[in-house]
């Protein structure tokens, strides 16, 4: 094996001398070939990705169920919104020898863009027998009022636009909660609950009509 390699190198040297190719070229070509093979085998990164950080991938872990609930929520209206929230705080540097630290105050800013969905509708579990009145082909229902059933702003719906130093995860979460609350507030101002109420009435009216009732009253 070694002998054949040595023979090959000798032959190559002779050929290089004949062709006047400098020895350095052979070394460089050899290294390049070895590198390309290792890149192809995914052992070394390509030149393009040589100084690019590899993404951090989470391990696959199970989803555990804490509680299972039986519900009856009629979701009738949702609003999709986008809000920007920001917060800033200042740090005062405590350097020995400096009496006035006001001039050494450093500000840190956090800006979050959140996209979310606010869902409104009725909790039909509250629609018990005392709220349903039937006489022949007439039916009358007293519906519970519409309420916010979900305010969904998942991790994929947040973008941390500016994050300067010194923000703890709890502070970031508090700002995210503020963004979500802002969305709920804005959806309420847009009359989401009233719209959810009227849509629920429409859905139930259609359902009751299909179920054979001629006169329907929904309050």
């Amino acid at each position: 094996m070694y002998r054949s390699i040595l023979l090959y190198l000798k032959k190559r040297n002779k050929l290089a001398k004949k062709l006047h190719i400098p020895r350095f070229f052979w070394y460089a070509a050899g290294i390049a070939i070895i590198y390309l093979v290792l890149v192809r085998l995914d052992i070394l990164p390509s030149l393009k990705n040589l100084f690019r950080s590899k993404p951090v991938v989470i391990d696959t872990t199970p989803v555990l169920i804490k509680e299972m609930k039986s519900i009856a929520q009629l979701m009738t209206m949702s609003s999709y919104d986008e809000v920007v929230v920001d917060s800033s705080k200042s740090f005062s540097a405590d350097i020995p020898g400096f009496t006035n630290t006001n001039s050494l105050v450093d500000k840190s800013q956090l800006v979050i863009i959140a996209h979310g969905q606010i869902v409104a509708g009725l909790d039909l579990q509250q629609l018990d027998e005392s709220k349903i009145f039937i006489a022949g082909d007439s039916v009358s229902l007293i519906l519970p009022p519409a309420k916010i059933l979900d305010a969904i702003v998942n991790p994929s719906q947040y973008e941390i636009f500016i994050e300067e130093k010194g923000w703890e995860p709890a502070e970031v979460n508090a700002l995210k909660v503020r963004a979500r609350d802002k969305m709920v507030e804005r959806s309420l101002k847009q009359g989401l609950l009233q719209k959810a109420d009227s849509k629920a009435k429409m859905i139930l009216e259609n359902f009751l009509r299909s179920a054979g009732f001629k006169r329907i009253s929904i309050l």
Binding site: P45, F51, S53, K54, V56, I58, D59, T60, T61, P62, V63, L64, I65, K66, E67, M68, K69, S70, I71, A72, L74, M75, M77, S78, S79, Y80, D81, E82, Q117, V119, G121, L124, I132, I134, V139, L149, D150, A151, I152, V153, N154, P155, S156, Y158, W167, P169, V172, N173, R180, R186, S187, Q190, L192, K195, K199, I203, F207, S210, A211, F213
Partner: protein, 187 residues
């Protein structure tokens, strides 16, 4: 004679300087969408998120992080798919063919995401909040993929059957039969 071009030039400079700032627009709600979903099952779930940052060859030292999160998955049926032909009535008997259940929503509230532990090498920085959010996005994706396999769909269909049967019985029907349409095959 040259007064007119000079005045025009001054006016042009004045106008072009003055129009630089665009007034900030007041944000409005992006969209309101009607829904007709009857959510019948809710699962409170929890997941541990763990990751190691040790794959980049030129970074000296490793980082490890452990996060935990809780959330809610809701499943139910889309009533907008219910057609008039799906309801058959014969005196006090009613038969309903309702669409199959689906996952309606996943909600991972930010206050239920906790940083449990992180180990950072001497030469490395802590995981920033943006990096932690990136990891949580991956966790959200894993939860979405697992949602179908935790039995919530079957439970939602069972609960929908119980709820609709009870509701129709309260409306005066004696025999209620609920069937589900077969889910469309994914192409």
């Amino acid at each position: 004679m040259n007064k007119f071009p000079a005045a025009f030039l001054i006016l042009f400079i004045f106008l072009s300087c003055g129009q630089k700032s665009v007034p900030e627009q007041k944000q409005e709600i992006l969209a309101l969408k009607e829904m007709s979903d009857l959510a019948t099952a809710e699962y409170n779930i929890t997941k541990v998120v763990k990751a190691s940052d040790d794959k980049t060859w030129f970074k000296v030292g490793d980082r490890k992080i452990l996060l935990s999160c809780s959330g809610t998955i809701k499943a139910g049926i889309d009533l907008s798919l219910l057609k008039e032909t799906d309801i058959l009535i014969e005196k006090k008997n009613i038969s309903l063919t309702i669409p199959p259940a689906k996952v309606i929503s996943l909600n991972i509230p930010p206050e239920q995401i906790q940083l449990e532990y992180q180990q950072v090498g001497f030469w490395r920085d802590k995981f920033s909040n943006a990096e932690q959010n990136e990891l949580m996005i991956q966790a959200e994706k894993q939860i979405r993929q697992a949602a179908d396999s935790i039995g919530i769909i079957q439970n939602a269909e069972k609960n929908a059957k119980i709820f609709i049967t009870g509701f129709l019985k309260r409306l005066g029907y004696q025999n209620v039969q609920i069937n589900f349409t077969l889910p469309e095959k994914k192409k």
